[in-house]
């Protein structure tokens, strides 16, 4: 089966040209950064268009361009639909973003909120959960870069993975969140045009009838709406997506960075616009049998089908689209995780009297360190992207209820919030290893809710909301 489409030299040239463009753009934008707020939160002044684009582009990632086709290839129709349901995370975060901005107008990270709302025990648990997720996602993105290059050009996995990490670290380092948001805007346009073109060519060249007949002949379960594992996967993916967004500093930093009253509208719109994209990217995986494509690993199915459909020129375009999607998420995650480590670990635990200049320097060192650690973790390609991502589902889904109750409900205290995350994650992992990766988030979310409800019933923390704002004012003044 001949699957290599782009000559290696071309692939490297594209990588260098786009890499240089993003890095130069990051450097140019970085010149406008005068303060820590500028670097970490783009001056807290992001308008509606950029806000919507960055929310959408960040959510279009290796998940959408590589994992959505993988899950469609594994779980069929439900895999495709289930994946698109991750849009609900963005939609449900819309009201939360307004609440976050009104409770903590001077806030920096989600860790700030958890520490002030719940105290140290819950904060420690939350940081562990966040770090597992952040590294799971970072590693999946680095791996995706390597997989993409090897699928489309035959270049070694390690070269592709190293190149994409290096480029993203460089422009995030130079431009901060401002560069991340601006590049996201351009990347969104490239991604949308690319995805639509691939789907159009797929329908034109292969046709629905041929796709249906070949899938029903060779892989009948993919069209079966009573496919048991796929039914289990559906709600698991919804809670995984919601957990990812609700807990992650990638999204909280955007809630802090967007102008007042922009967050709700932009998260809602980006969710609605994102919803059909996994359907489109997933759909092309169903055409694999009709095109006589059978991948070595399930996560390579998307690029392989696209490259076969579009030929050599098309493969270059696919390469640019997926590279943009990966970069738009990787930079956001690097920036947000660096904020969390700088603000929560360095300032919160190591150097409580750190000045703004010190924090800015630590933030940049952290971005580089994150890149290096991710690179090391990507070296042994241990599992498929889908399985790696869903492993983190057990962690993030446990935070959904503590975040929701924490933002709106005075009664839940830190002990039960921490226990909810701890027990939810543990039982989610039991489900991951005993049943399958497609139940971990659902189990985690369920048990986390039970612990939260017990906590609310047993004890009333009677938290005062004013404490959040006062504490943040104090911190902003110190910084």
């Amino acid at each position: 089966m001949d699957i290599i489409q782009i000559p290696s030299v071309w692939a490297l040239a594209i990588l260098l040209v786009f890499g240089a463009l993003w890095v130069a753009f990051g450097w140019w934008l970085g010149k406008k950064n005068n303060s820590l707020d500028d670097f970490m939160l783009a001056g807290r002044n992001v308008g509606f268009a950029f806000a919507t684009a960055t929310a959408m582009a960040t959510w279009i990632t290796s998940n959408t361009t590589l994992v959505a086709p993988q899950l469609t290839y594994q779980f069929g129709i439900w895999g495709m639909v289930g994946y698109s349901m991750a849009a609900l995370g963005l939609i449900l975060f819309a009201p939360l973003a307004t609440r976050i901005k009104s409770l903590m107008p001077n806030g920096y990270t989600c860790g700030d909120f958890i520490r002030q709302r719940y105290g140290r025990f819950a904060w420690y648990v939350f940081l562990i959960v966040s770090m597992f997720y952040a590294f799971g996602w970072l590693v999946s993105l680095g791996m995706a870069g390597g997989i993409l290059l090897s699928a489309l050009s035959g270049i070694d996995y390690y070269i592709g993975m190293s190149a994409i990490l290096l480029i993203c670290v460089l422009y995030t380092l130079l431009g901060g969140l401002r560069a991340v948001i601006a590049t996201d805007f351009i990347q969104t346009i490239i991604i949308l045009l690319g995805v639509l073109w691939i789907a159009y060519v797929c329908l034109q060249d292969v046709g629905l009838e041929k796709i249906y007949s070949s899938v029903s002949h060779e892989s009948p379960e993919l069209l079966n709406l009573l496919f048991p594992a796929a039914i289990m996967f559906l709600f698991n993916n919804i809670f995984f997506g919601i957990g990812e967004i609700f807990h992650s500093n990638v999204w909280w930093s955007r809630a802090f960075a967007f102008k007042k009253d922009v967050g709700k509208k932009s998260f809602l719109l980006s969710g609605l616009l994102w919803f059909p994209i996994p359907i489109v990217t997933g759909f092309i995986a169903l055409s694999a049998p009709a095109l006589n494509i059978y991948p070595p690993t399930a996560d390579m199915i998307g690029p392989l089908v696209a490259a076969k459909l579009l030929g050599e020129i098309g493969a270059i375009f696919v390469f640019v689209v997926v590279f943009s999607a990966l970069a738009s998420s990787l930079d956001s995650l690097l920036a947000a995780t660096s904020d969390l480590l700088t603000k929560d670990i360095y300032k919160g635990l190591i150097n409580k009297k750190a000045s703004k200049q010190q924090l800015l320097r630590v933030s940049k060192i952290t971005i580089v360190s994150l890149g290096i650690v991710t690179w090391i973790l990507c070296l042994p390609r241990v599992t498929t992207l889908g399985e790696l991502l869903n492993f983190t589902g057990a962690f993030v889904a446990s935070t959904i209820w503590p975040i929701v109750f924490g933002l709106y409900q005075r009664r839940l205290n830190g002990l039960y919030a921490g226990l909810a995350m701890l027990i939810g994650t543990s039982l989610g992992l039991v489900g991951y290893f005993t049943i399958g990766f497609y139940v971990a988030a659902l189990i985690s979310c369920l048990f986390s809710l039970i612990i939260c409800l017990i906590g609310i019933w047993l004890k009333n923390a009677n938290f005062q909301w004013e404490n959040l704002n006062e504490s943040n004012k104090k911190q902003a003044g110190e910084m």
Partner: protein, 149 residues
């Protein structure tokens, strides 16, 4: 258990393991037997075998009386297949030599697909709906009464 008997058992186990390994070494397609609860699975072989003359064949019978499907081999030395219904599937690598004389490279690999129970899947589905509805109602109600909190 006496020490003598224990040693005898260890030696027998060692010999049988050695003979199994030798038999496994002749096989090109791995794993020799696997089960799948989701209808997708991966088969591996020595990548040097991958060429245009070699195919992966699937049959419902151990003797490959009827070949139901033939797959081209990815050059990476492994293939992931999906969407299989419950049942036993036999696979083998089959080399169609230039003079069109079929030559089987090895004996078969067996994949047993046994999907999870639909009943438990639907129970989890209903649980998911209830949990999701609860979350939406909570966020909606909390947001409505936000100003009063």
């Amino acid at each position: 258990m006496s020490l003598k008997r224990w040693f005898a058992l260890v030696i027998i186990a060692g010999i049988s393991h050695f003979s199994c390994a030798a038999e496994g070494g002749e096989r090109a397609l791995l794993p020799v037997e696997q089960t799948s609860s989701e209808g997708y699975f991966t088969l591996k072989w020595d990548p040097s075998i991958s060429n245009n003359n070699t195919q992966l064949q699937m049959s419902l019978n151990r003797d490959f009386r009827q070949i139901l499907q033939s797959y081209p081999l990815p050059s990476e030395g492994k293939i992931t297949l999906s969407g299989y219904a419950t049942g036993d599937y036999y696979f083998r690598l089959h080399n169609l030599s230039p003079n069109h004389q079929p030559e089987n490279i090895q004996s078969h690999a067996l994949v047993k697909v046994s999907h999870r129970s639909l009943e438990s899947a639907i129970q989890l589905f209903i649980l998911g709906i209830l949990l999701f509805a609860g979350l939406v109602v909570c966020i909606f109600k909390f947001s409505k009464s936000e100003s009063s909190i």
